[in-house]
């Protein structure tokens, strides 16, 4: 049993956790719910020995513990599986598994055979069918996650913390993960599970803890609560996601893509995208659904001029033939691209909000106009409800949802005709999510055309006017919003 008693943690200017209490039980999945910025990550960092200074007490099986580093937490049997995986791509799965706890021969030399045998044993247990010599970079995301779980099992962890483990997995991989969690539960392990996906929590979790603004709001058993009830506790008020599309007349074609092909940069024989053709109308939201690896991101990247050497296509924007050899040209032709990974592709984290927003639209004269920049960013902060003390706040200090809003603002500031969004609500909380949904709908009502890539079926269904389904680099189906449903989308998205 893992208990926290009156845990508080303060950062300069922010109280991240305020007298938080909870109990996690062995043999159960204990869900932590909360918006981004509610204090979940801080809590995990305290439990795993990353943050060593805090007020309050942590008890493991009745004894007070305090960890001064990650290793101590591991030795006490607490392991964490991060949202962003921490494996070294260039090393093999076995080398990753034993990193920092290598098995040595009596002479002090690495005992590769023994480690590979041990790796195989653990992989069998979690049904991971890869050779121990495989390099991590050759694995799919789902398989990499299993390697992380294997790592936790290897150090005999009794408490396993999982931070949004399914955000990047396909449904099949998710099922597999849930099955493994079920097995771990039977063995009496304590599972702590953070996820924004409600249906998933109701499927696998027994207990829940709700955090809001650093306070513990409620604890209880999943069977005694409902989805709406939990959302209300997380957000502090009712959230309604309007599932109906705004109907508008789509007549004018703004974007016409023909025979788009993309070959693999390192393997010229492999095609990542095959003969993709479609049209986008003015004011339309075109959803693009597919599983991981279907080629959705690559499609947007190609349109944005990020693969000039490996792609061929015909592209018409406003009846004008164009070719994008780099993002700059795509932007000049009215495209904007809200990329999937806001940390590595969207933002310069060490710069302030204002500089990030203006990065796409600084004056062509070459001279900065500080007052204009300030007003524009203040405007977006208000319009998109970015939570921040000022426009000079560094982006690295913002929560995920607010960072995503800054990325959006940065692209809206270019006045695009076509807004491409890749998983625009991935890893952000439900409140920011619904705000972004409403914004997307407003933009479309204002005649902006939107390409929306998402892995979340409810999101695609709620927003799109039309839905393309992709699998293995091809367009497999196209539905009008009215005729689409979850079953049809999933069936079309499965590879042959």
């Amino acid at each position: 049993m893992l208990q926290a008693i009156n845990i508080s943690k303060e950062f300069p200017g922010v109280k991240a956790l305020n007298q938080v209490n909870f109990t996690f039980y062995p043999g159960r999945v204990n869900a932590i719910l909360g918006e981004n910025g509610a204090g979940k990550s801080t809590l995990l960092k305290i439990l795993t020995g990353v943050y060593t200074e805090y007020d309050g007490e942590i008890k493991l099986n009745g004894e007070t513990v305090s960890f001064s580093n990650i290793k101590e937490a591991q030795n006490a049997g607490i392991a964490i599986i991060h949202q962003e995986l921490n494996l070294i791509p260039e090393l093999s799965v076995t080398q990753n598994l034993f990193l920092g706890r290598e098995i040595l021969t009596p002479l002090g030399i690495l005992d590769a055979t023994k480690m590979e045998i041990e790796a195989k044993r653990i992989f069998e247990k979690i049904q991971l069918n890869v050779s121990p010599k495989t390099l991590v970079q050759q694995l799919k995301v789902g398989e990499q996650q299993l390697v992380e779980i294997a790592k936790a099992l290897l150090c005999n962890a009794n408490v396993i913390l999982m931070d949004e483990p399914t955000s990047a997995l396909s449904d099949k991989e998710i099922d597999n993960l849930h099955r493994i969690i079920f097995e771990l539960k039977k063995e009496g392990k304590t599972i702590v599970y953070i996820s924004h996906k409600m249906d998933e929590l109701f499927k696998i979790a027994e207990n829940y803890t709700v955090l809001r603004d650093g306070n513990s709001i409620d604890e209880g058993e999943m069977k005694d609560t409902t989805e709406n009830d939990l959302i209300r506790k997380m957000v502090g008020r009712d959230v309604l996601i309007d599932k109906k599309c705004t109907q508008s007349q789509f007549e004018n074609t703004i974007l016409k893509v023909g025979n788009l092909n993309l070959i693999h940069p390192n393997d010229k024989k492999r095609k990542l995208l095959h003969d993709i053709s479609f049209e986008l109308k003015k004011g339309e939201i075109l959803g693009i659904f597919g599983l991981m690896g279907a080629g959705r991101t690559e499609l947007l990247e190609t349109l944005f001029g990020m693969h000039p050497a490996n792609s061929t296509y015909s592209l018409e924007i406003n009846q004008k033939n164009v070719l994008h050899k780099k993002p700059k040209e795509a932007i000049e032709n009215g495209l904007a691209f809200v990329t999937e990974d806001r940390k590595t592709e969207g933002l310069v984290l060490g710069m302030d909000i204002s500089s990030n927003i203006s990065l796409t639209n600084l004056p062509v004269s070459g001279f900065l106009e500080p007052s204009k920049e300030k007003n524009a960013s203040k405007n977006y902060i208000e319009k998109l409800r970015i939570k921040t003390p000022s426009e000079m706040q560094l982006c690295q200090n913002l929560s995920g949802g607010n960072q995503q809003k800054v990325v959006l603002a940065k692209w809206l500031a270019t006045n695009p005709q076509i807004l491409m969004m890749d998983e625009p609500t991935r890893g952000i909380d439900i409140n920011a999510k619904s705000e972004i949904y409403n914004l997307i709908k407003e933009l479309a009502a204002d005649h902006m055309s939107i390409l929306l890539v998402s892995s979340e079926i409810p999101e695609i269904l709620a927003l799109s006017d039309r839905i393309l389904v992709m699998a293995e680099g091809k367009i497999k189906a196209c539905y009008l919003a009215a005729e689409a449903n979850e079953d049809k989308l999933l069936k079309s998205a499965l590879p042959d």
Binding site: T344, E345, G346, V348, G350, T360, L362, L368
Partner: protein, 323 residues
């Protein structure tokens, strides 16, 4: 009222406080330190490093490095002196071109620009790490210097030229004026232009900058070009001060300039730092050199002390980042 050491104002002016303490220490230990003659001397000595270092700041802000500045300084200085003294003779055409002081300086700065652009071209065109590309230029430019001078100093360049390094204008040494001008130019670039903003963005997150439509290669070319030009300006100052271009002028100057940048608080991983910090960094190194000489510390010990000061500066910086 108590003032915590973590107060943002104190953090911001940390290197300035360090400089103040250093000056205080030397003025207590030596009665020669706090004399106007000595202080002008210090400023004149550091003016070369200041010019190189403000250029280096732009490179480092962009998460790059330029190891070639010392050799570029050597070569441009030699060409400047050679043109002044011997002019350009085209024997086959029976043509001789003589150079005024301004003409020779302009040509040498253009050569600095060309060598810097070559660095940038190699780095952007072939995706070569800046460390390697500029290491190659370090050797190339030094070799060119030796070829051009045949290993012999070019001396006696005339009083007009000598004035740049040794003269006084309005009670301030001429080289100090020139270094102030260079600082102001780079300060303007970083604070007031989109070019400066793009440098910070590229250093902070190159991919995000590229996706925002910034022409990364153009900015990189320009930055390495500027670094080359600043090295050439430094070369003019050194040469006119000595009234002679030495074949080995500028050797290991890249290290002093990187040290100034780092002591000034610019992160070697890019995106964070200021020109003002670099200037303070250069002054700290200058004061340290000067003070240790006044105290009769052996030159070998001076190097040891300087090394530890660099380490100390980076460690303090790192500790601040963690908080």
């Amino acid at each position: 009222m108590t003032i915590s050491l973590n107060h943002p104002l104190i953090k911001k002016s940390q290197s300035l406080i360090a400089l103040f303490l250093l000056c205080l220490l030397f003025s207590l230990l030596s009665d020669k330190f706090m004399t106007s003659a000595n202080l002008w001397n210090v400023l004149r000595q550091i003016s070369v490093n200041v010019c190189i270092s403000v250029g280096m700041t732009l490179v480092v802000l962009m998460a790059g490095i330029d190891l070639s500045v010392g050799s570029v300084l050597g070569f441009t200085a030699a060409v400047c002196a050679g043109l002044l003294k011997n002019g350009l003779a085209f024997e086959s055409l029976d043509l001789f071109v003589g150079f005024s002081v301004l003409g020779a300086i302009l040509v040498s700065i253009l050569i600095g620009l060309a060598l810097g652009l070559f660095n940038g071209w190699v780095i952007t065109k072939f995706s070569i790490p800046p460390f390697v590309a500029t290491l190659a230029m370090l050797t190339i430019a030094r070799g060119l210097t030796m070829l051009y001078t045949e290993g012999i100093p070019i001396s006696n360049l005339g009083a007009e030229f000598e004035f740049i390094g040794s003269g006084w204008i309005l009670g301030i040494p001429a080289p100090v004026w020139i270094s102030i001008l260079m600082v102001l130019i780079v300060l303007f670039l970083t604070k007031k232009t989109t070019f400066g903003r793009y440098i910070y963005a590229i250093g902070g997150n190159e991919r995000a900058a590229f996706l925002s439509g910034i022409n990364i290669n153009k900015i990189k070319l320009a930055v390495y070009g500027i670094a080359g030009m600043m090295a050439a300006v430094g070369g003019v100052l050194v040469t006119s001060r000595l009234n002679s271009a030495q074949p080995n002028a500028g050797i290991s100057y890249e290290l002093d300039s990187i040290a100034a940048v780092v002591i000034g608080g610019t992160s070697l991983s890019g995106g964070i730092g200021t020109v003002a910090g670099t200037v303070i960094g250069a002054v700290i190194i200058g004061v340290l050199n000067n003070g240790l000489v006044l105290l009769d510390v052996s030159p070998f010990w001076q190097q040891v002390v300087k090394g530890f000061v660099i380490l100390l500066a980076v460690i303090i910086d790192k500790m601040n980042q963690k908080k």
